[in-house]
């Protein structure tokens, strides 16, 4: 049995057949004959394999689903997945084996005389690898299945995946433990002047090496893996995305270390901040503002809180302390198994496919507590990110690396 197929008593076990049955129950409730999933988050949540190539899953009204991916990766996906080789198929540029032929062949048996409702996943996202059905795919499938009706139904999986089960939470805990190992490696490398002559890409690489040694599968973030910024790059206006550059680390400059690890599709994401060699009084004032805000923010996350109520409380604090000009006014982004990034909760807010600011957090939801401080005129900025689990009375922050801005 491949190492990745888990037994029920394993801490990382997820009951995937139960997930499929839950989807099928919702399909029946909504009169859906067959569900065609194409988003990366849907594939991770149902197949339990990393599927980097364009992939799909066809979920029938009952029984096992069938996933399809590019043929060059199908055997590996099958090796990782709980599904057997008859339910992981490869597509390729061959008669009868292209994406549309395979998908329509899998869908047709679940339609009556070609008629029925096919659930699809479409929409809009800030996240490029989201995986919504493309217009071309839709047009081709509609031509192959002309009597069928297509219905956008991603909310079924979004709703079911919102509250995290024990296996998912434990995968995130382990990914965070690995991220902390990466942070320790960075700290040990840069302290006592070790940062001199290093570049941002080097920091990204040494963290990656330490995390890989600890079992991380990938520096998963599509934003360039481990995001490292130093000097003016930490304080880019309203910025919260810093793929590492070849910039050399310099004494007196801030350094932002935002590491990403993946463990069984669970995602670690934690940022730690430094000053290199020395820091001015003014820089330390910025640092204190930031750390005090993070402490306050982590105390505030609990069931019943919404992004709006939390932001109101945090921004009031920044005004009181006089650093409101340096805050990016958001304190979260969504998180789930690989591919589920960015939006919090469901697509039910005033702006389609953005976080609903009035989403009310519930126990066992997860999110990234994300705070960005940027002062471009002083070339200083900090980032905090940490996956948090909403608990009965507060939150558990999964990365345990000590919260501080260190002068190294």
């Amino acid at each position: 049995m491949p190492e990745k197929k888990l037994k029920r008593d394993d801490p990382y076990f997820i009951d995937f057949p139960k997930r499929i049955k839950a989807i099928q129950k919702e399909m029946a409730k909504h009169g859906i004959d067959v569900y065609l999933g194409s988003r990366l988050r849907t594939l991770s949540w149902t197949v339990d394999a990393f599927m980097p190539w364009r992939s799909y899953i066809v979920i029938p009204p009952e029984g096992l689903p069938t996933a399809i991916t590019f043929v060059i990766d199908a055997a590996r996906v099958q090796d990782d997945s709980w599904l057997d080789q008859d339910h992981i198929l490869g597509y390729g540029p061959m008669g009868g084996q292209d994406q549309v032929s395979l998908l329509s062949g899998l869908i047709k048996p679940h339609l009556k005389a070609g008629k029925g409702i096919i659930a699809m996943e479409t929409g809009m996202g800030t996240y490029l690898p989201e995986g919504h059905l493309t217009l071309f795919e839709f047009v081709m499938l509609k031509a192959a299945l002309p009597k069928a009706t297509f219905k956008n139904a991603h909310d079924i999986i979004d709703r079911l995946s919102l509250i995290k089960d024990a296996g998912t939470i434990n995968r995130f805990r382990e990914a965070s433990r690995i991220v902390d190992i990466g942070h320790k490696a960075v700290y040990e490398a840069i302290c006592d002047g070790g940062y001199k002559n290093m570049t941002e890409t080097e920091i990204a690489g040494l963290a990656a090496y330490a995390m890989r040694k600890a079992g991380s599968e990938w520096e998963w973030s599509f934003t360039g893996g481990n995001e490292i910024a130093s000097g003016y790059r930490t304080g880019l206006a309203a910025g919260a995305c810093t793929p590492a550059s070849r910039k050399k680390l310099k004494t007196g400059e801030p350094l932002m270390v935002d590491l990403h690890a993946m463990f069984r599709l669970g995602l670690g994401d934690h940022s730690h901040n430094y000053f290199l060699g020395k820091a001015t009084k003014r820089q330390l004032w910025h640092a204190k503002n930031f750390i005090d805000l993070i402490h306050k923010c982590l105390k505030a996350y609990k069931p019943g809180v919404s992004p709006t109520t939390l932001a109101d409380e945090m921004l009031a604090f920044t005004e009181e302390r006089g650093f409101q000009d340096y805050m990016v006014p958001g304190f979260e982004h969504g998180i789930g198994l690989m591919g589920d990034e960015w939006r919090i909760g469901l697509n039910d807010g005033p702006f389609e496919y953005w976080t609903n600011p009035d989403h009310v957090y519930k126990k066992d939801e997860m999110l990234i507590c994300a705070v960005q401080y940027a002062c471009p005129e002083e070339n200083v900025g900090f980032r905090y990110e940490n996956p948090i689990l909403i608990t009965a009375k507060g939150c558990e922050f999964l990365s345990k690396f000590p919260l501080s801005i260190d002068v190294v």
Binding site: V71, A74, Q85, L89, G90, M94, G95, G96, D98
Partner: protein, 134 residues
């Protein structure tokens, strides 16, 4: 004496194919595979559709049968025009090229099919040697 030729897709031709496959292909050469395959010939000269059904068990070609009408279930089915198959049998066209052009369609698990393709090539090599009249 001129070599006896068998009419393509006739009962006699099918029997000869079966006989040669059993004789020439060892279980080792066929990698001990157990599978079934249909090759479906559309637009035969009499406008009919015919199929050859191959059954392999542990690398032994158990049977090759000619089918008209209802087709049996098979792990793989390959469909193309009679002329296309004839070109492949005469070694004028590679099966891979026919598949890549979309003029031949494959039903079944592509990953398994790609794994088995060298074995199927061996089968085709034997069939190509049957003196055939198209």
């Amino acid at each position: 004496m001129p070599e006896r030729k068998f009419k393509y897709l006739s009962k006699e031709w099918t029997e000869e194919v079966g006989k040669r496959l059993k004789k020439d292909l060892t279980p080792e050469k066929m990698k001990h595979i157990t599978s079934s395959m249909l090759t479906i010939y559309t637009n035969c000269p009499d406008k009919k559709t015919r199929a050859l059904y191959y059954k392999l068990k542990d690398g032994v070609v158990e049977s090759v049968s000619l089918v008209e009408g209802a087709l049996p279930k098979a792990e793989f089915s390959i469909t193309a025009d009679y002329d296309m198959f004839a070109k492949i049998s005469r070694a004028e066209l590679k099966a891979r090229s026919a598949l890549m052009s979309g003029k031949m369609t494959l039903k079944g698990n592509l990953v398994k099919a790609l794994t088995l393709s060298p074995t199927v090539d061996r089968l085709n090599e034997v069939i190509a040697k049957v003196p055939t009249e198209y």
